[in-house]
Assembly symmetry: C3
Homo-oligomer: 422 residues x 3
């Protein structure tokens, strides 16, 4: 079936994307250059971490949402498109933000690593919105979210004096609630029967697609320790080590908890595949912020257990309440994978700081206020900007005047009817 | 189709798994803590090896058995569940065993690495049993196997003074024969027509599923050098190097041999996909034990060739004999991938020790007796404990009183009829 | 459907492959041995790069062509077979070539790395030919191509004094045009209606298969920086760093360009999946040769943009012209992924040398002549040897006397009708 967009829109979107790319090259040309002086003997080691991050972002998040048959291909392809564009944008944004706050960091592998991590909130939000938005809406959403997260990063750094690691971990919470509120706005505009059609369709999964979903989940699971430890400073080598260990334990426990709780909560003792896909990662998200502070494995394991319980209990009970009260439908479970576990992790981080003295924070009260402030700001910013973006995307401008209300974005990625020559 | 378990069993299994997880956290809380004093500059390098092992265990073994359409999803999911639980169990077991034999090893990345390798025999056995056992039986089998392999490890270390590397390589043999004997016991209890139904079904493979099987095989193939060299001590840097090279050559040769022999043995010159899946890994298994002793690539290549021949000839000829005599049906070819090649490798290891003088073994005869003893013990222990476990699993307790004899465990992992809210 | 080969051929091919393997082991036995004296502290780091290359070659190229439903399994399996055999052959070839030119390199990980990279041109050619040739033809083609590329390597090194990195980057051009000309010869021998049948069939893609194609593309995309930087000498650590960065930027830009241009060039604004599969890699290929010379990211980005444009515009416009004039059908787009971008990169490399003074080349004119010569030689050699190989493969000897003209090689890899025992 053909796309129902008016010709202008269909033509403009890829043109805009192309012009954005050209603009990005021009900005790189004038501002970004390599640090030729810096000699880095450990280059190949840091390169491996960077490669793990790219692998997570491209394969993990790409295939995470591929279990839905209709959106599998567009999910993977758009995730990849956003990553390639988002990393360039984040490098430029970081450069200009560094200029404004008079903090000149050298440009090296660490910059690309940070830029890759900055695109993760966008990838999370896109998972929430996939199937509810068309490509134009997704592109606008990503641009607005990049700007909003850039603002969060500057405020966190300047006002709350947070380190890069904690800012990135707040990114999970930011991305999840941003995506949720955009999805909420968009699903309100869909007529009820269309939405139910979408619900029904979720059950129609091919085995192949669900294995791709599992593949994405496993890639994220395997490389999550790299993600959590990537921005922990390397001068405290034990911090990095602890970050890896704690993430590993939390993930192992949350995987076991999620699988057994999913079977336990089902009337016939079956394991819900989608619950497992989502809940398995909750432990890694929850341990994200405090991973380098935790000194005993059991604390990380308790966090993993709690996150696993939250994600399964949340997926079972909350939808019923939320559906009736707020008409929020939790799209693709990101609320229970990234939202609530991220909040749990951020709160644990704040509570652990007074206990762990190996971190140079003397005036605990003062710092705790700052930490609470930074978390609340990230959460509020995610919700407010998500709501605004959602309202903006509901405007008729982004859709054709006389178009079917629910519309498949797969047509956009579909194979053409007539392959020319190839 | 719904699960035919009685309610109590369906409810108890996930509850047991959950309680096991809670117990594991409590044990970690009281006994395991990080070594904060140890500074490890090479942490990121050893972390990569550990990541390779996790990738092998989660993706490789998970997708290895996914070529069977009915069991693909449950194979991947249960493999993942076993890995997450098994690593925790192995860390605790290693700690307590280390306590009993007064050998206090520091707790670090090496411990997790060893624990991941200790779960590999269980993953191998599970591949053999998949499709013949239900989830309850699998869970019981894994617990019993973990205990039996723990005993093998202690006896190998205390009585036969073997090093970690050789013990782990005996794990292939142990896991393969354990799984084979459990599968033999279980298949005897299935009525004949049910078993034939299962045989027929193996032919019904979707292309997608077979590509997933290939994906798993390739992941194992790529990361097998990491596996074989992971426990070779790093002070002998050349040993590690040789382990990697020899494994690589053996795998390359066994892949070529397996592919060409598979075509050669087929009346129409076709290549049997399942033979290739299994035989490709045989070379890596065979070279496992002696990989750090071999000083010329051609010895490793001859081992790879022999292992490839064994696995293909075995898959062609042995089933006919065995089927008629012993009623053993070789499930999923693990006998020819892990069993026989593992034995070949262990025997080569024993024969190579007198030749290679760079290993500090002066009284060759004395040591050879010990080596033969350790191998025989691992083999015998695998067979005896497998037989006992198989008999135990045949007891009616694990199945509902009036349940269909052959029963699909996929129902357990199936998507629920009514997705709640999500 | 059964294979229509005469019995002798069906029997001989795997036998030849097996004998080739035995011959390779014998040659290894007499000539290749490990360097036991060399102590390499950085072994684990270089091992990671080598693993990335194997992963690219086995998974990336294997699944790249798996989007065609009929050839998916045979594509992955034959790619794997060629890799395992090709690496052994390349090690032997490099050894004997090193002997003839009196250049005794120590045998270490670098040798395997170079050997893996030497098989890449063969994997590229095989992608072009897949679906047009049967297995016998593919095997003959690979042997002839290995010999031809060996000749290119010797002449490049002896006559044109090129370094390993540049020779390998010429390999893309060599492999692409070799494959194209073989495919051209073979497609001329197919009757027209058969060829059209093949064209139509390309449209029949399952979603699962296209996701596998995406998986292969993403693996190549992620590990391409490792590939481009693998042979850049490690004494110039900044060169290696620059190679990684430039490849990363070029790939990101070419991915964005390819996706947006594909939508722009389609009358309905849809994105052609196959275009994206191919074009995404063009940036990495184009930046391959000059990657260590480029000192500002924007130059790499412009290269990526140009390569992306070339690959999409080429795929859209060139086939129409070429189809009418030369009857060349571009098989699987390798012309636009490896051929033209490789030429672009090689030309950029030659133009950048006078500008970049950090490379020790004083007599620029003299060197530029050598560089042009080496590139022309690789291109000409690829075309001439491809044409000769194609003519040779058209000879009736390789096919049965009374066989259907277009014939499916999948039958060869198909699951046998009667699984024996397993």
């Amino acid at each position: 079936m053909g796309s129902k967009y008016p010709r202008s829109l269909r033509f403009h979107l890829p043109l805009w994307a192309f012009l954005l790319q050209v603009a990005s090259i021009l900005l790189f040309c004038f501002f970004i250059s390599y640090d030729t002086l810096q000699m880095d003997q450990k280059f190949m080691v840091t390169y491996q971490v960077f490669q793990d991050l790219t692998l997570m972002a491209a394969l993990g998040f790409g295939f995470l949402s591929s279990s839905l048959r209709r959106h599998s291909w567009s999910g993977v392809a758009f995730n990849f498109f956003m990553l390639a564009l988002g990393v360039q944008g984040s490098i430029l944004l970081d450069y200009f933000l560094g200029k404004t706050i008079q903090q000149n960091e050298p440009f090296d592998l660490f910059s690309i690593r940070k830029a890759t991590m900055s695109t993760v909130p966008m990838l999370i939000s896109a998972v929430a919105v996939l199937g509810k938005a068309n490509l134009v809406q997704l592109a606008v959403m990503v641009l607005l979210e990049a700007a909003a997260f850039g603002a969060v990063k500057v405020v966190d750094k300047q006002v709350f004096t947070m380190d890069d690691h904690t800012i990135m971990m707040h990114g999970h919470v930011f991305g999840a609630y941003f995506g949720l509120l955009v999805a909420w706005c968009l699903s309100r505009s869909l007529p009820r029967e269309m939405d139910e059609k979408a619900q029904t369709e979720k059950l129609q999964m091919a085995t192949g697609s669900s294995l791709f979903g599992m593949l994405g989940t496993l890639f994220l699971w395997i490389f999550w320790p790299s993600f959590n430890s990537a921005l922990v400073e390397s001068q405290f080598i034990n911090d990095k080590k602890r970050a890896v260990f704690n993430t590993y334990y939390a993930l192992a426990v949350s995987a076991v908890t999620a699988t057994s709780m999913s079977a336990l909560s089902h009337p016939q003792g079956k394991i819900n595949m989608v619950h497992v896909h989502n809940a398995v990662l909750a432990g890694g998200v929850a341990v994200g912020a405090p991973c380098f502070l935790i000194t005993s494995p059991w604390i990380a394991m308790v966090l993993g257990l709690t996150a696993g319980l939250i994600s399964i209990v949340g997926a079972k009970c909350l939808p019923v309440c939320l559906n009736h009260m707020l008409q929020i439908r939790n799209p693709r479970g990101i609320h229970y994978t990234f939202g609530l576990p991220g909040l749990l992790g951020a709160v644990t981080y704040i509570l652990l700081i007074p206990i762990s003295y190996n971190y140079p924070r003397l005036m605990v009260n003062n710092y705790m206020i700052k930490d609470w402030g930074a978390l609340s700001f990230a959460l509020a910013m995610g919700m407010v900007s998500g709501l605004l973006t959602g309202c903006l995307l509901k405007v008729k401008m982004w859709r054709a005047p006389h178009v079917a209300k629910y519309f498949d974005d797969q047509a956009f990625w579909e194979f053409p009817h007539l392959a020319v020559g190839f």
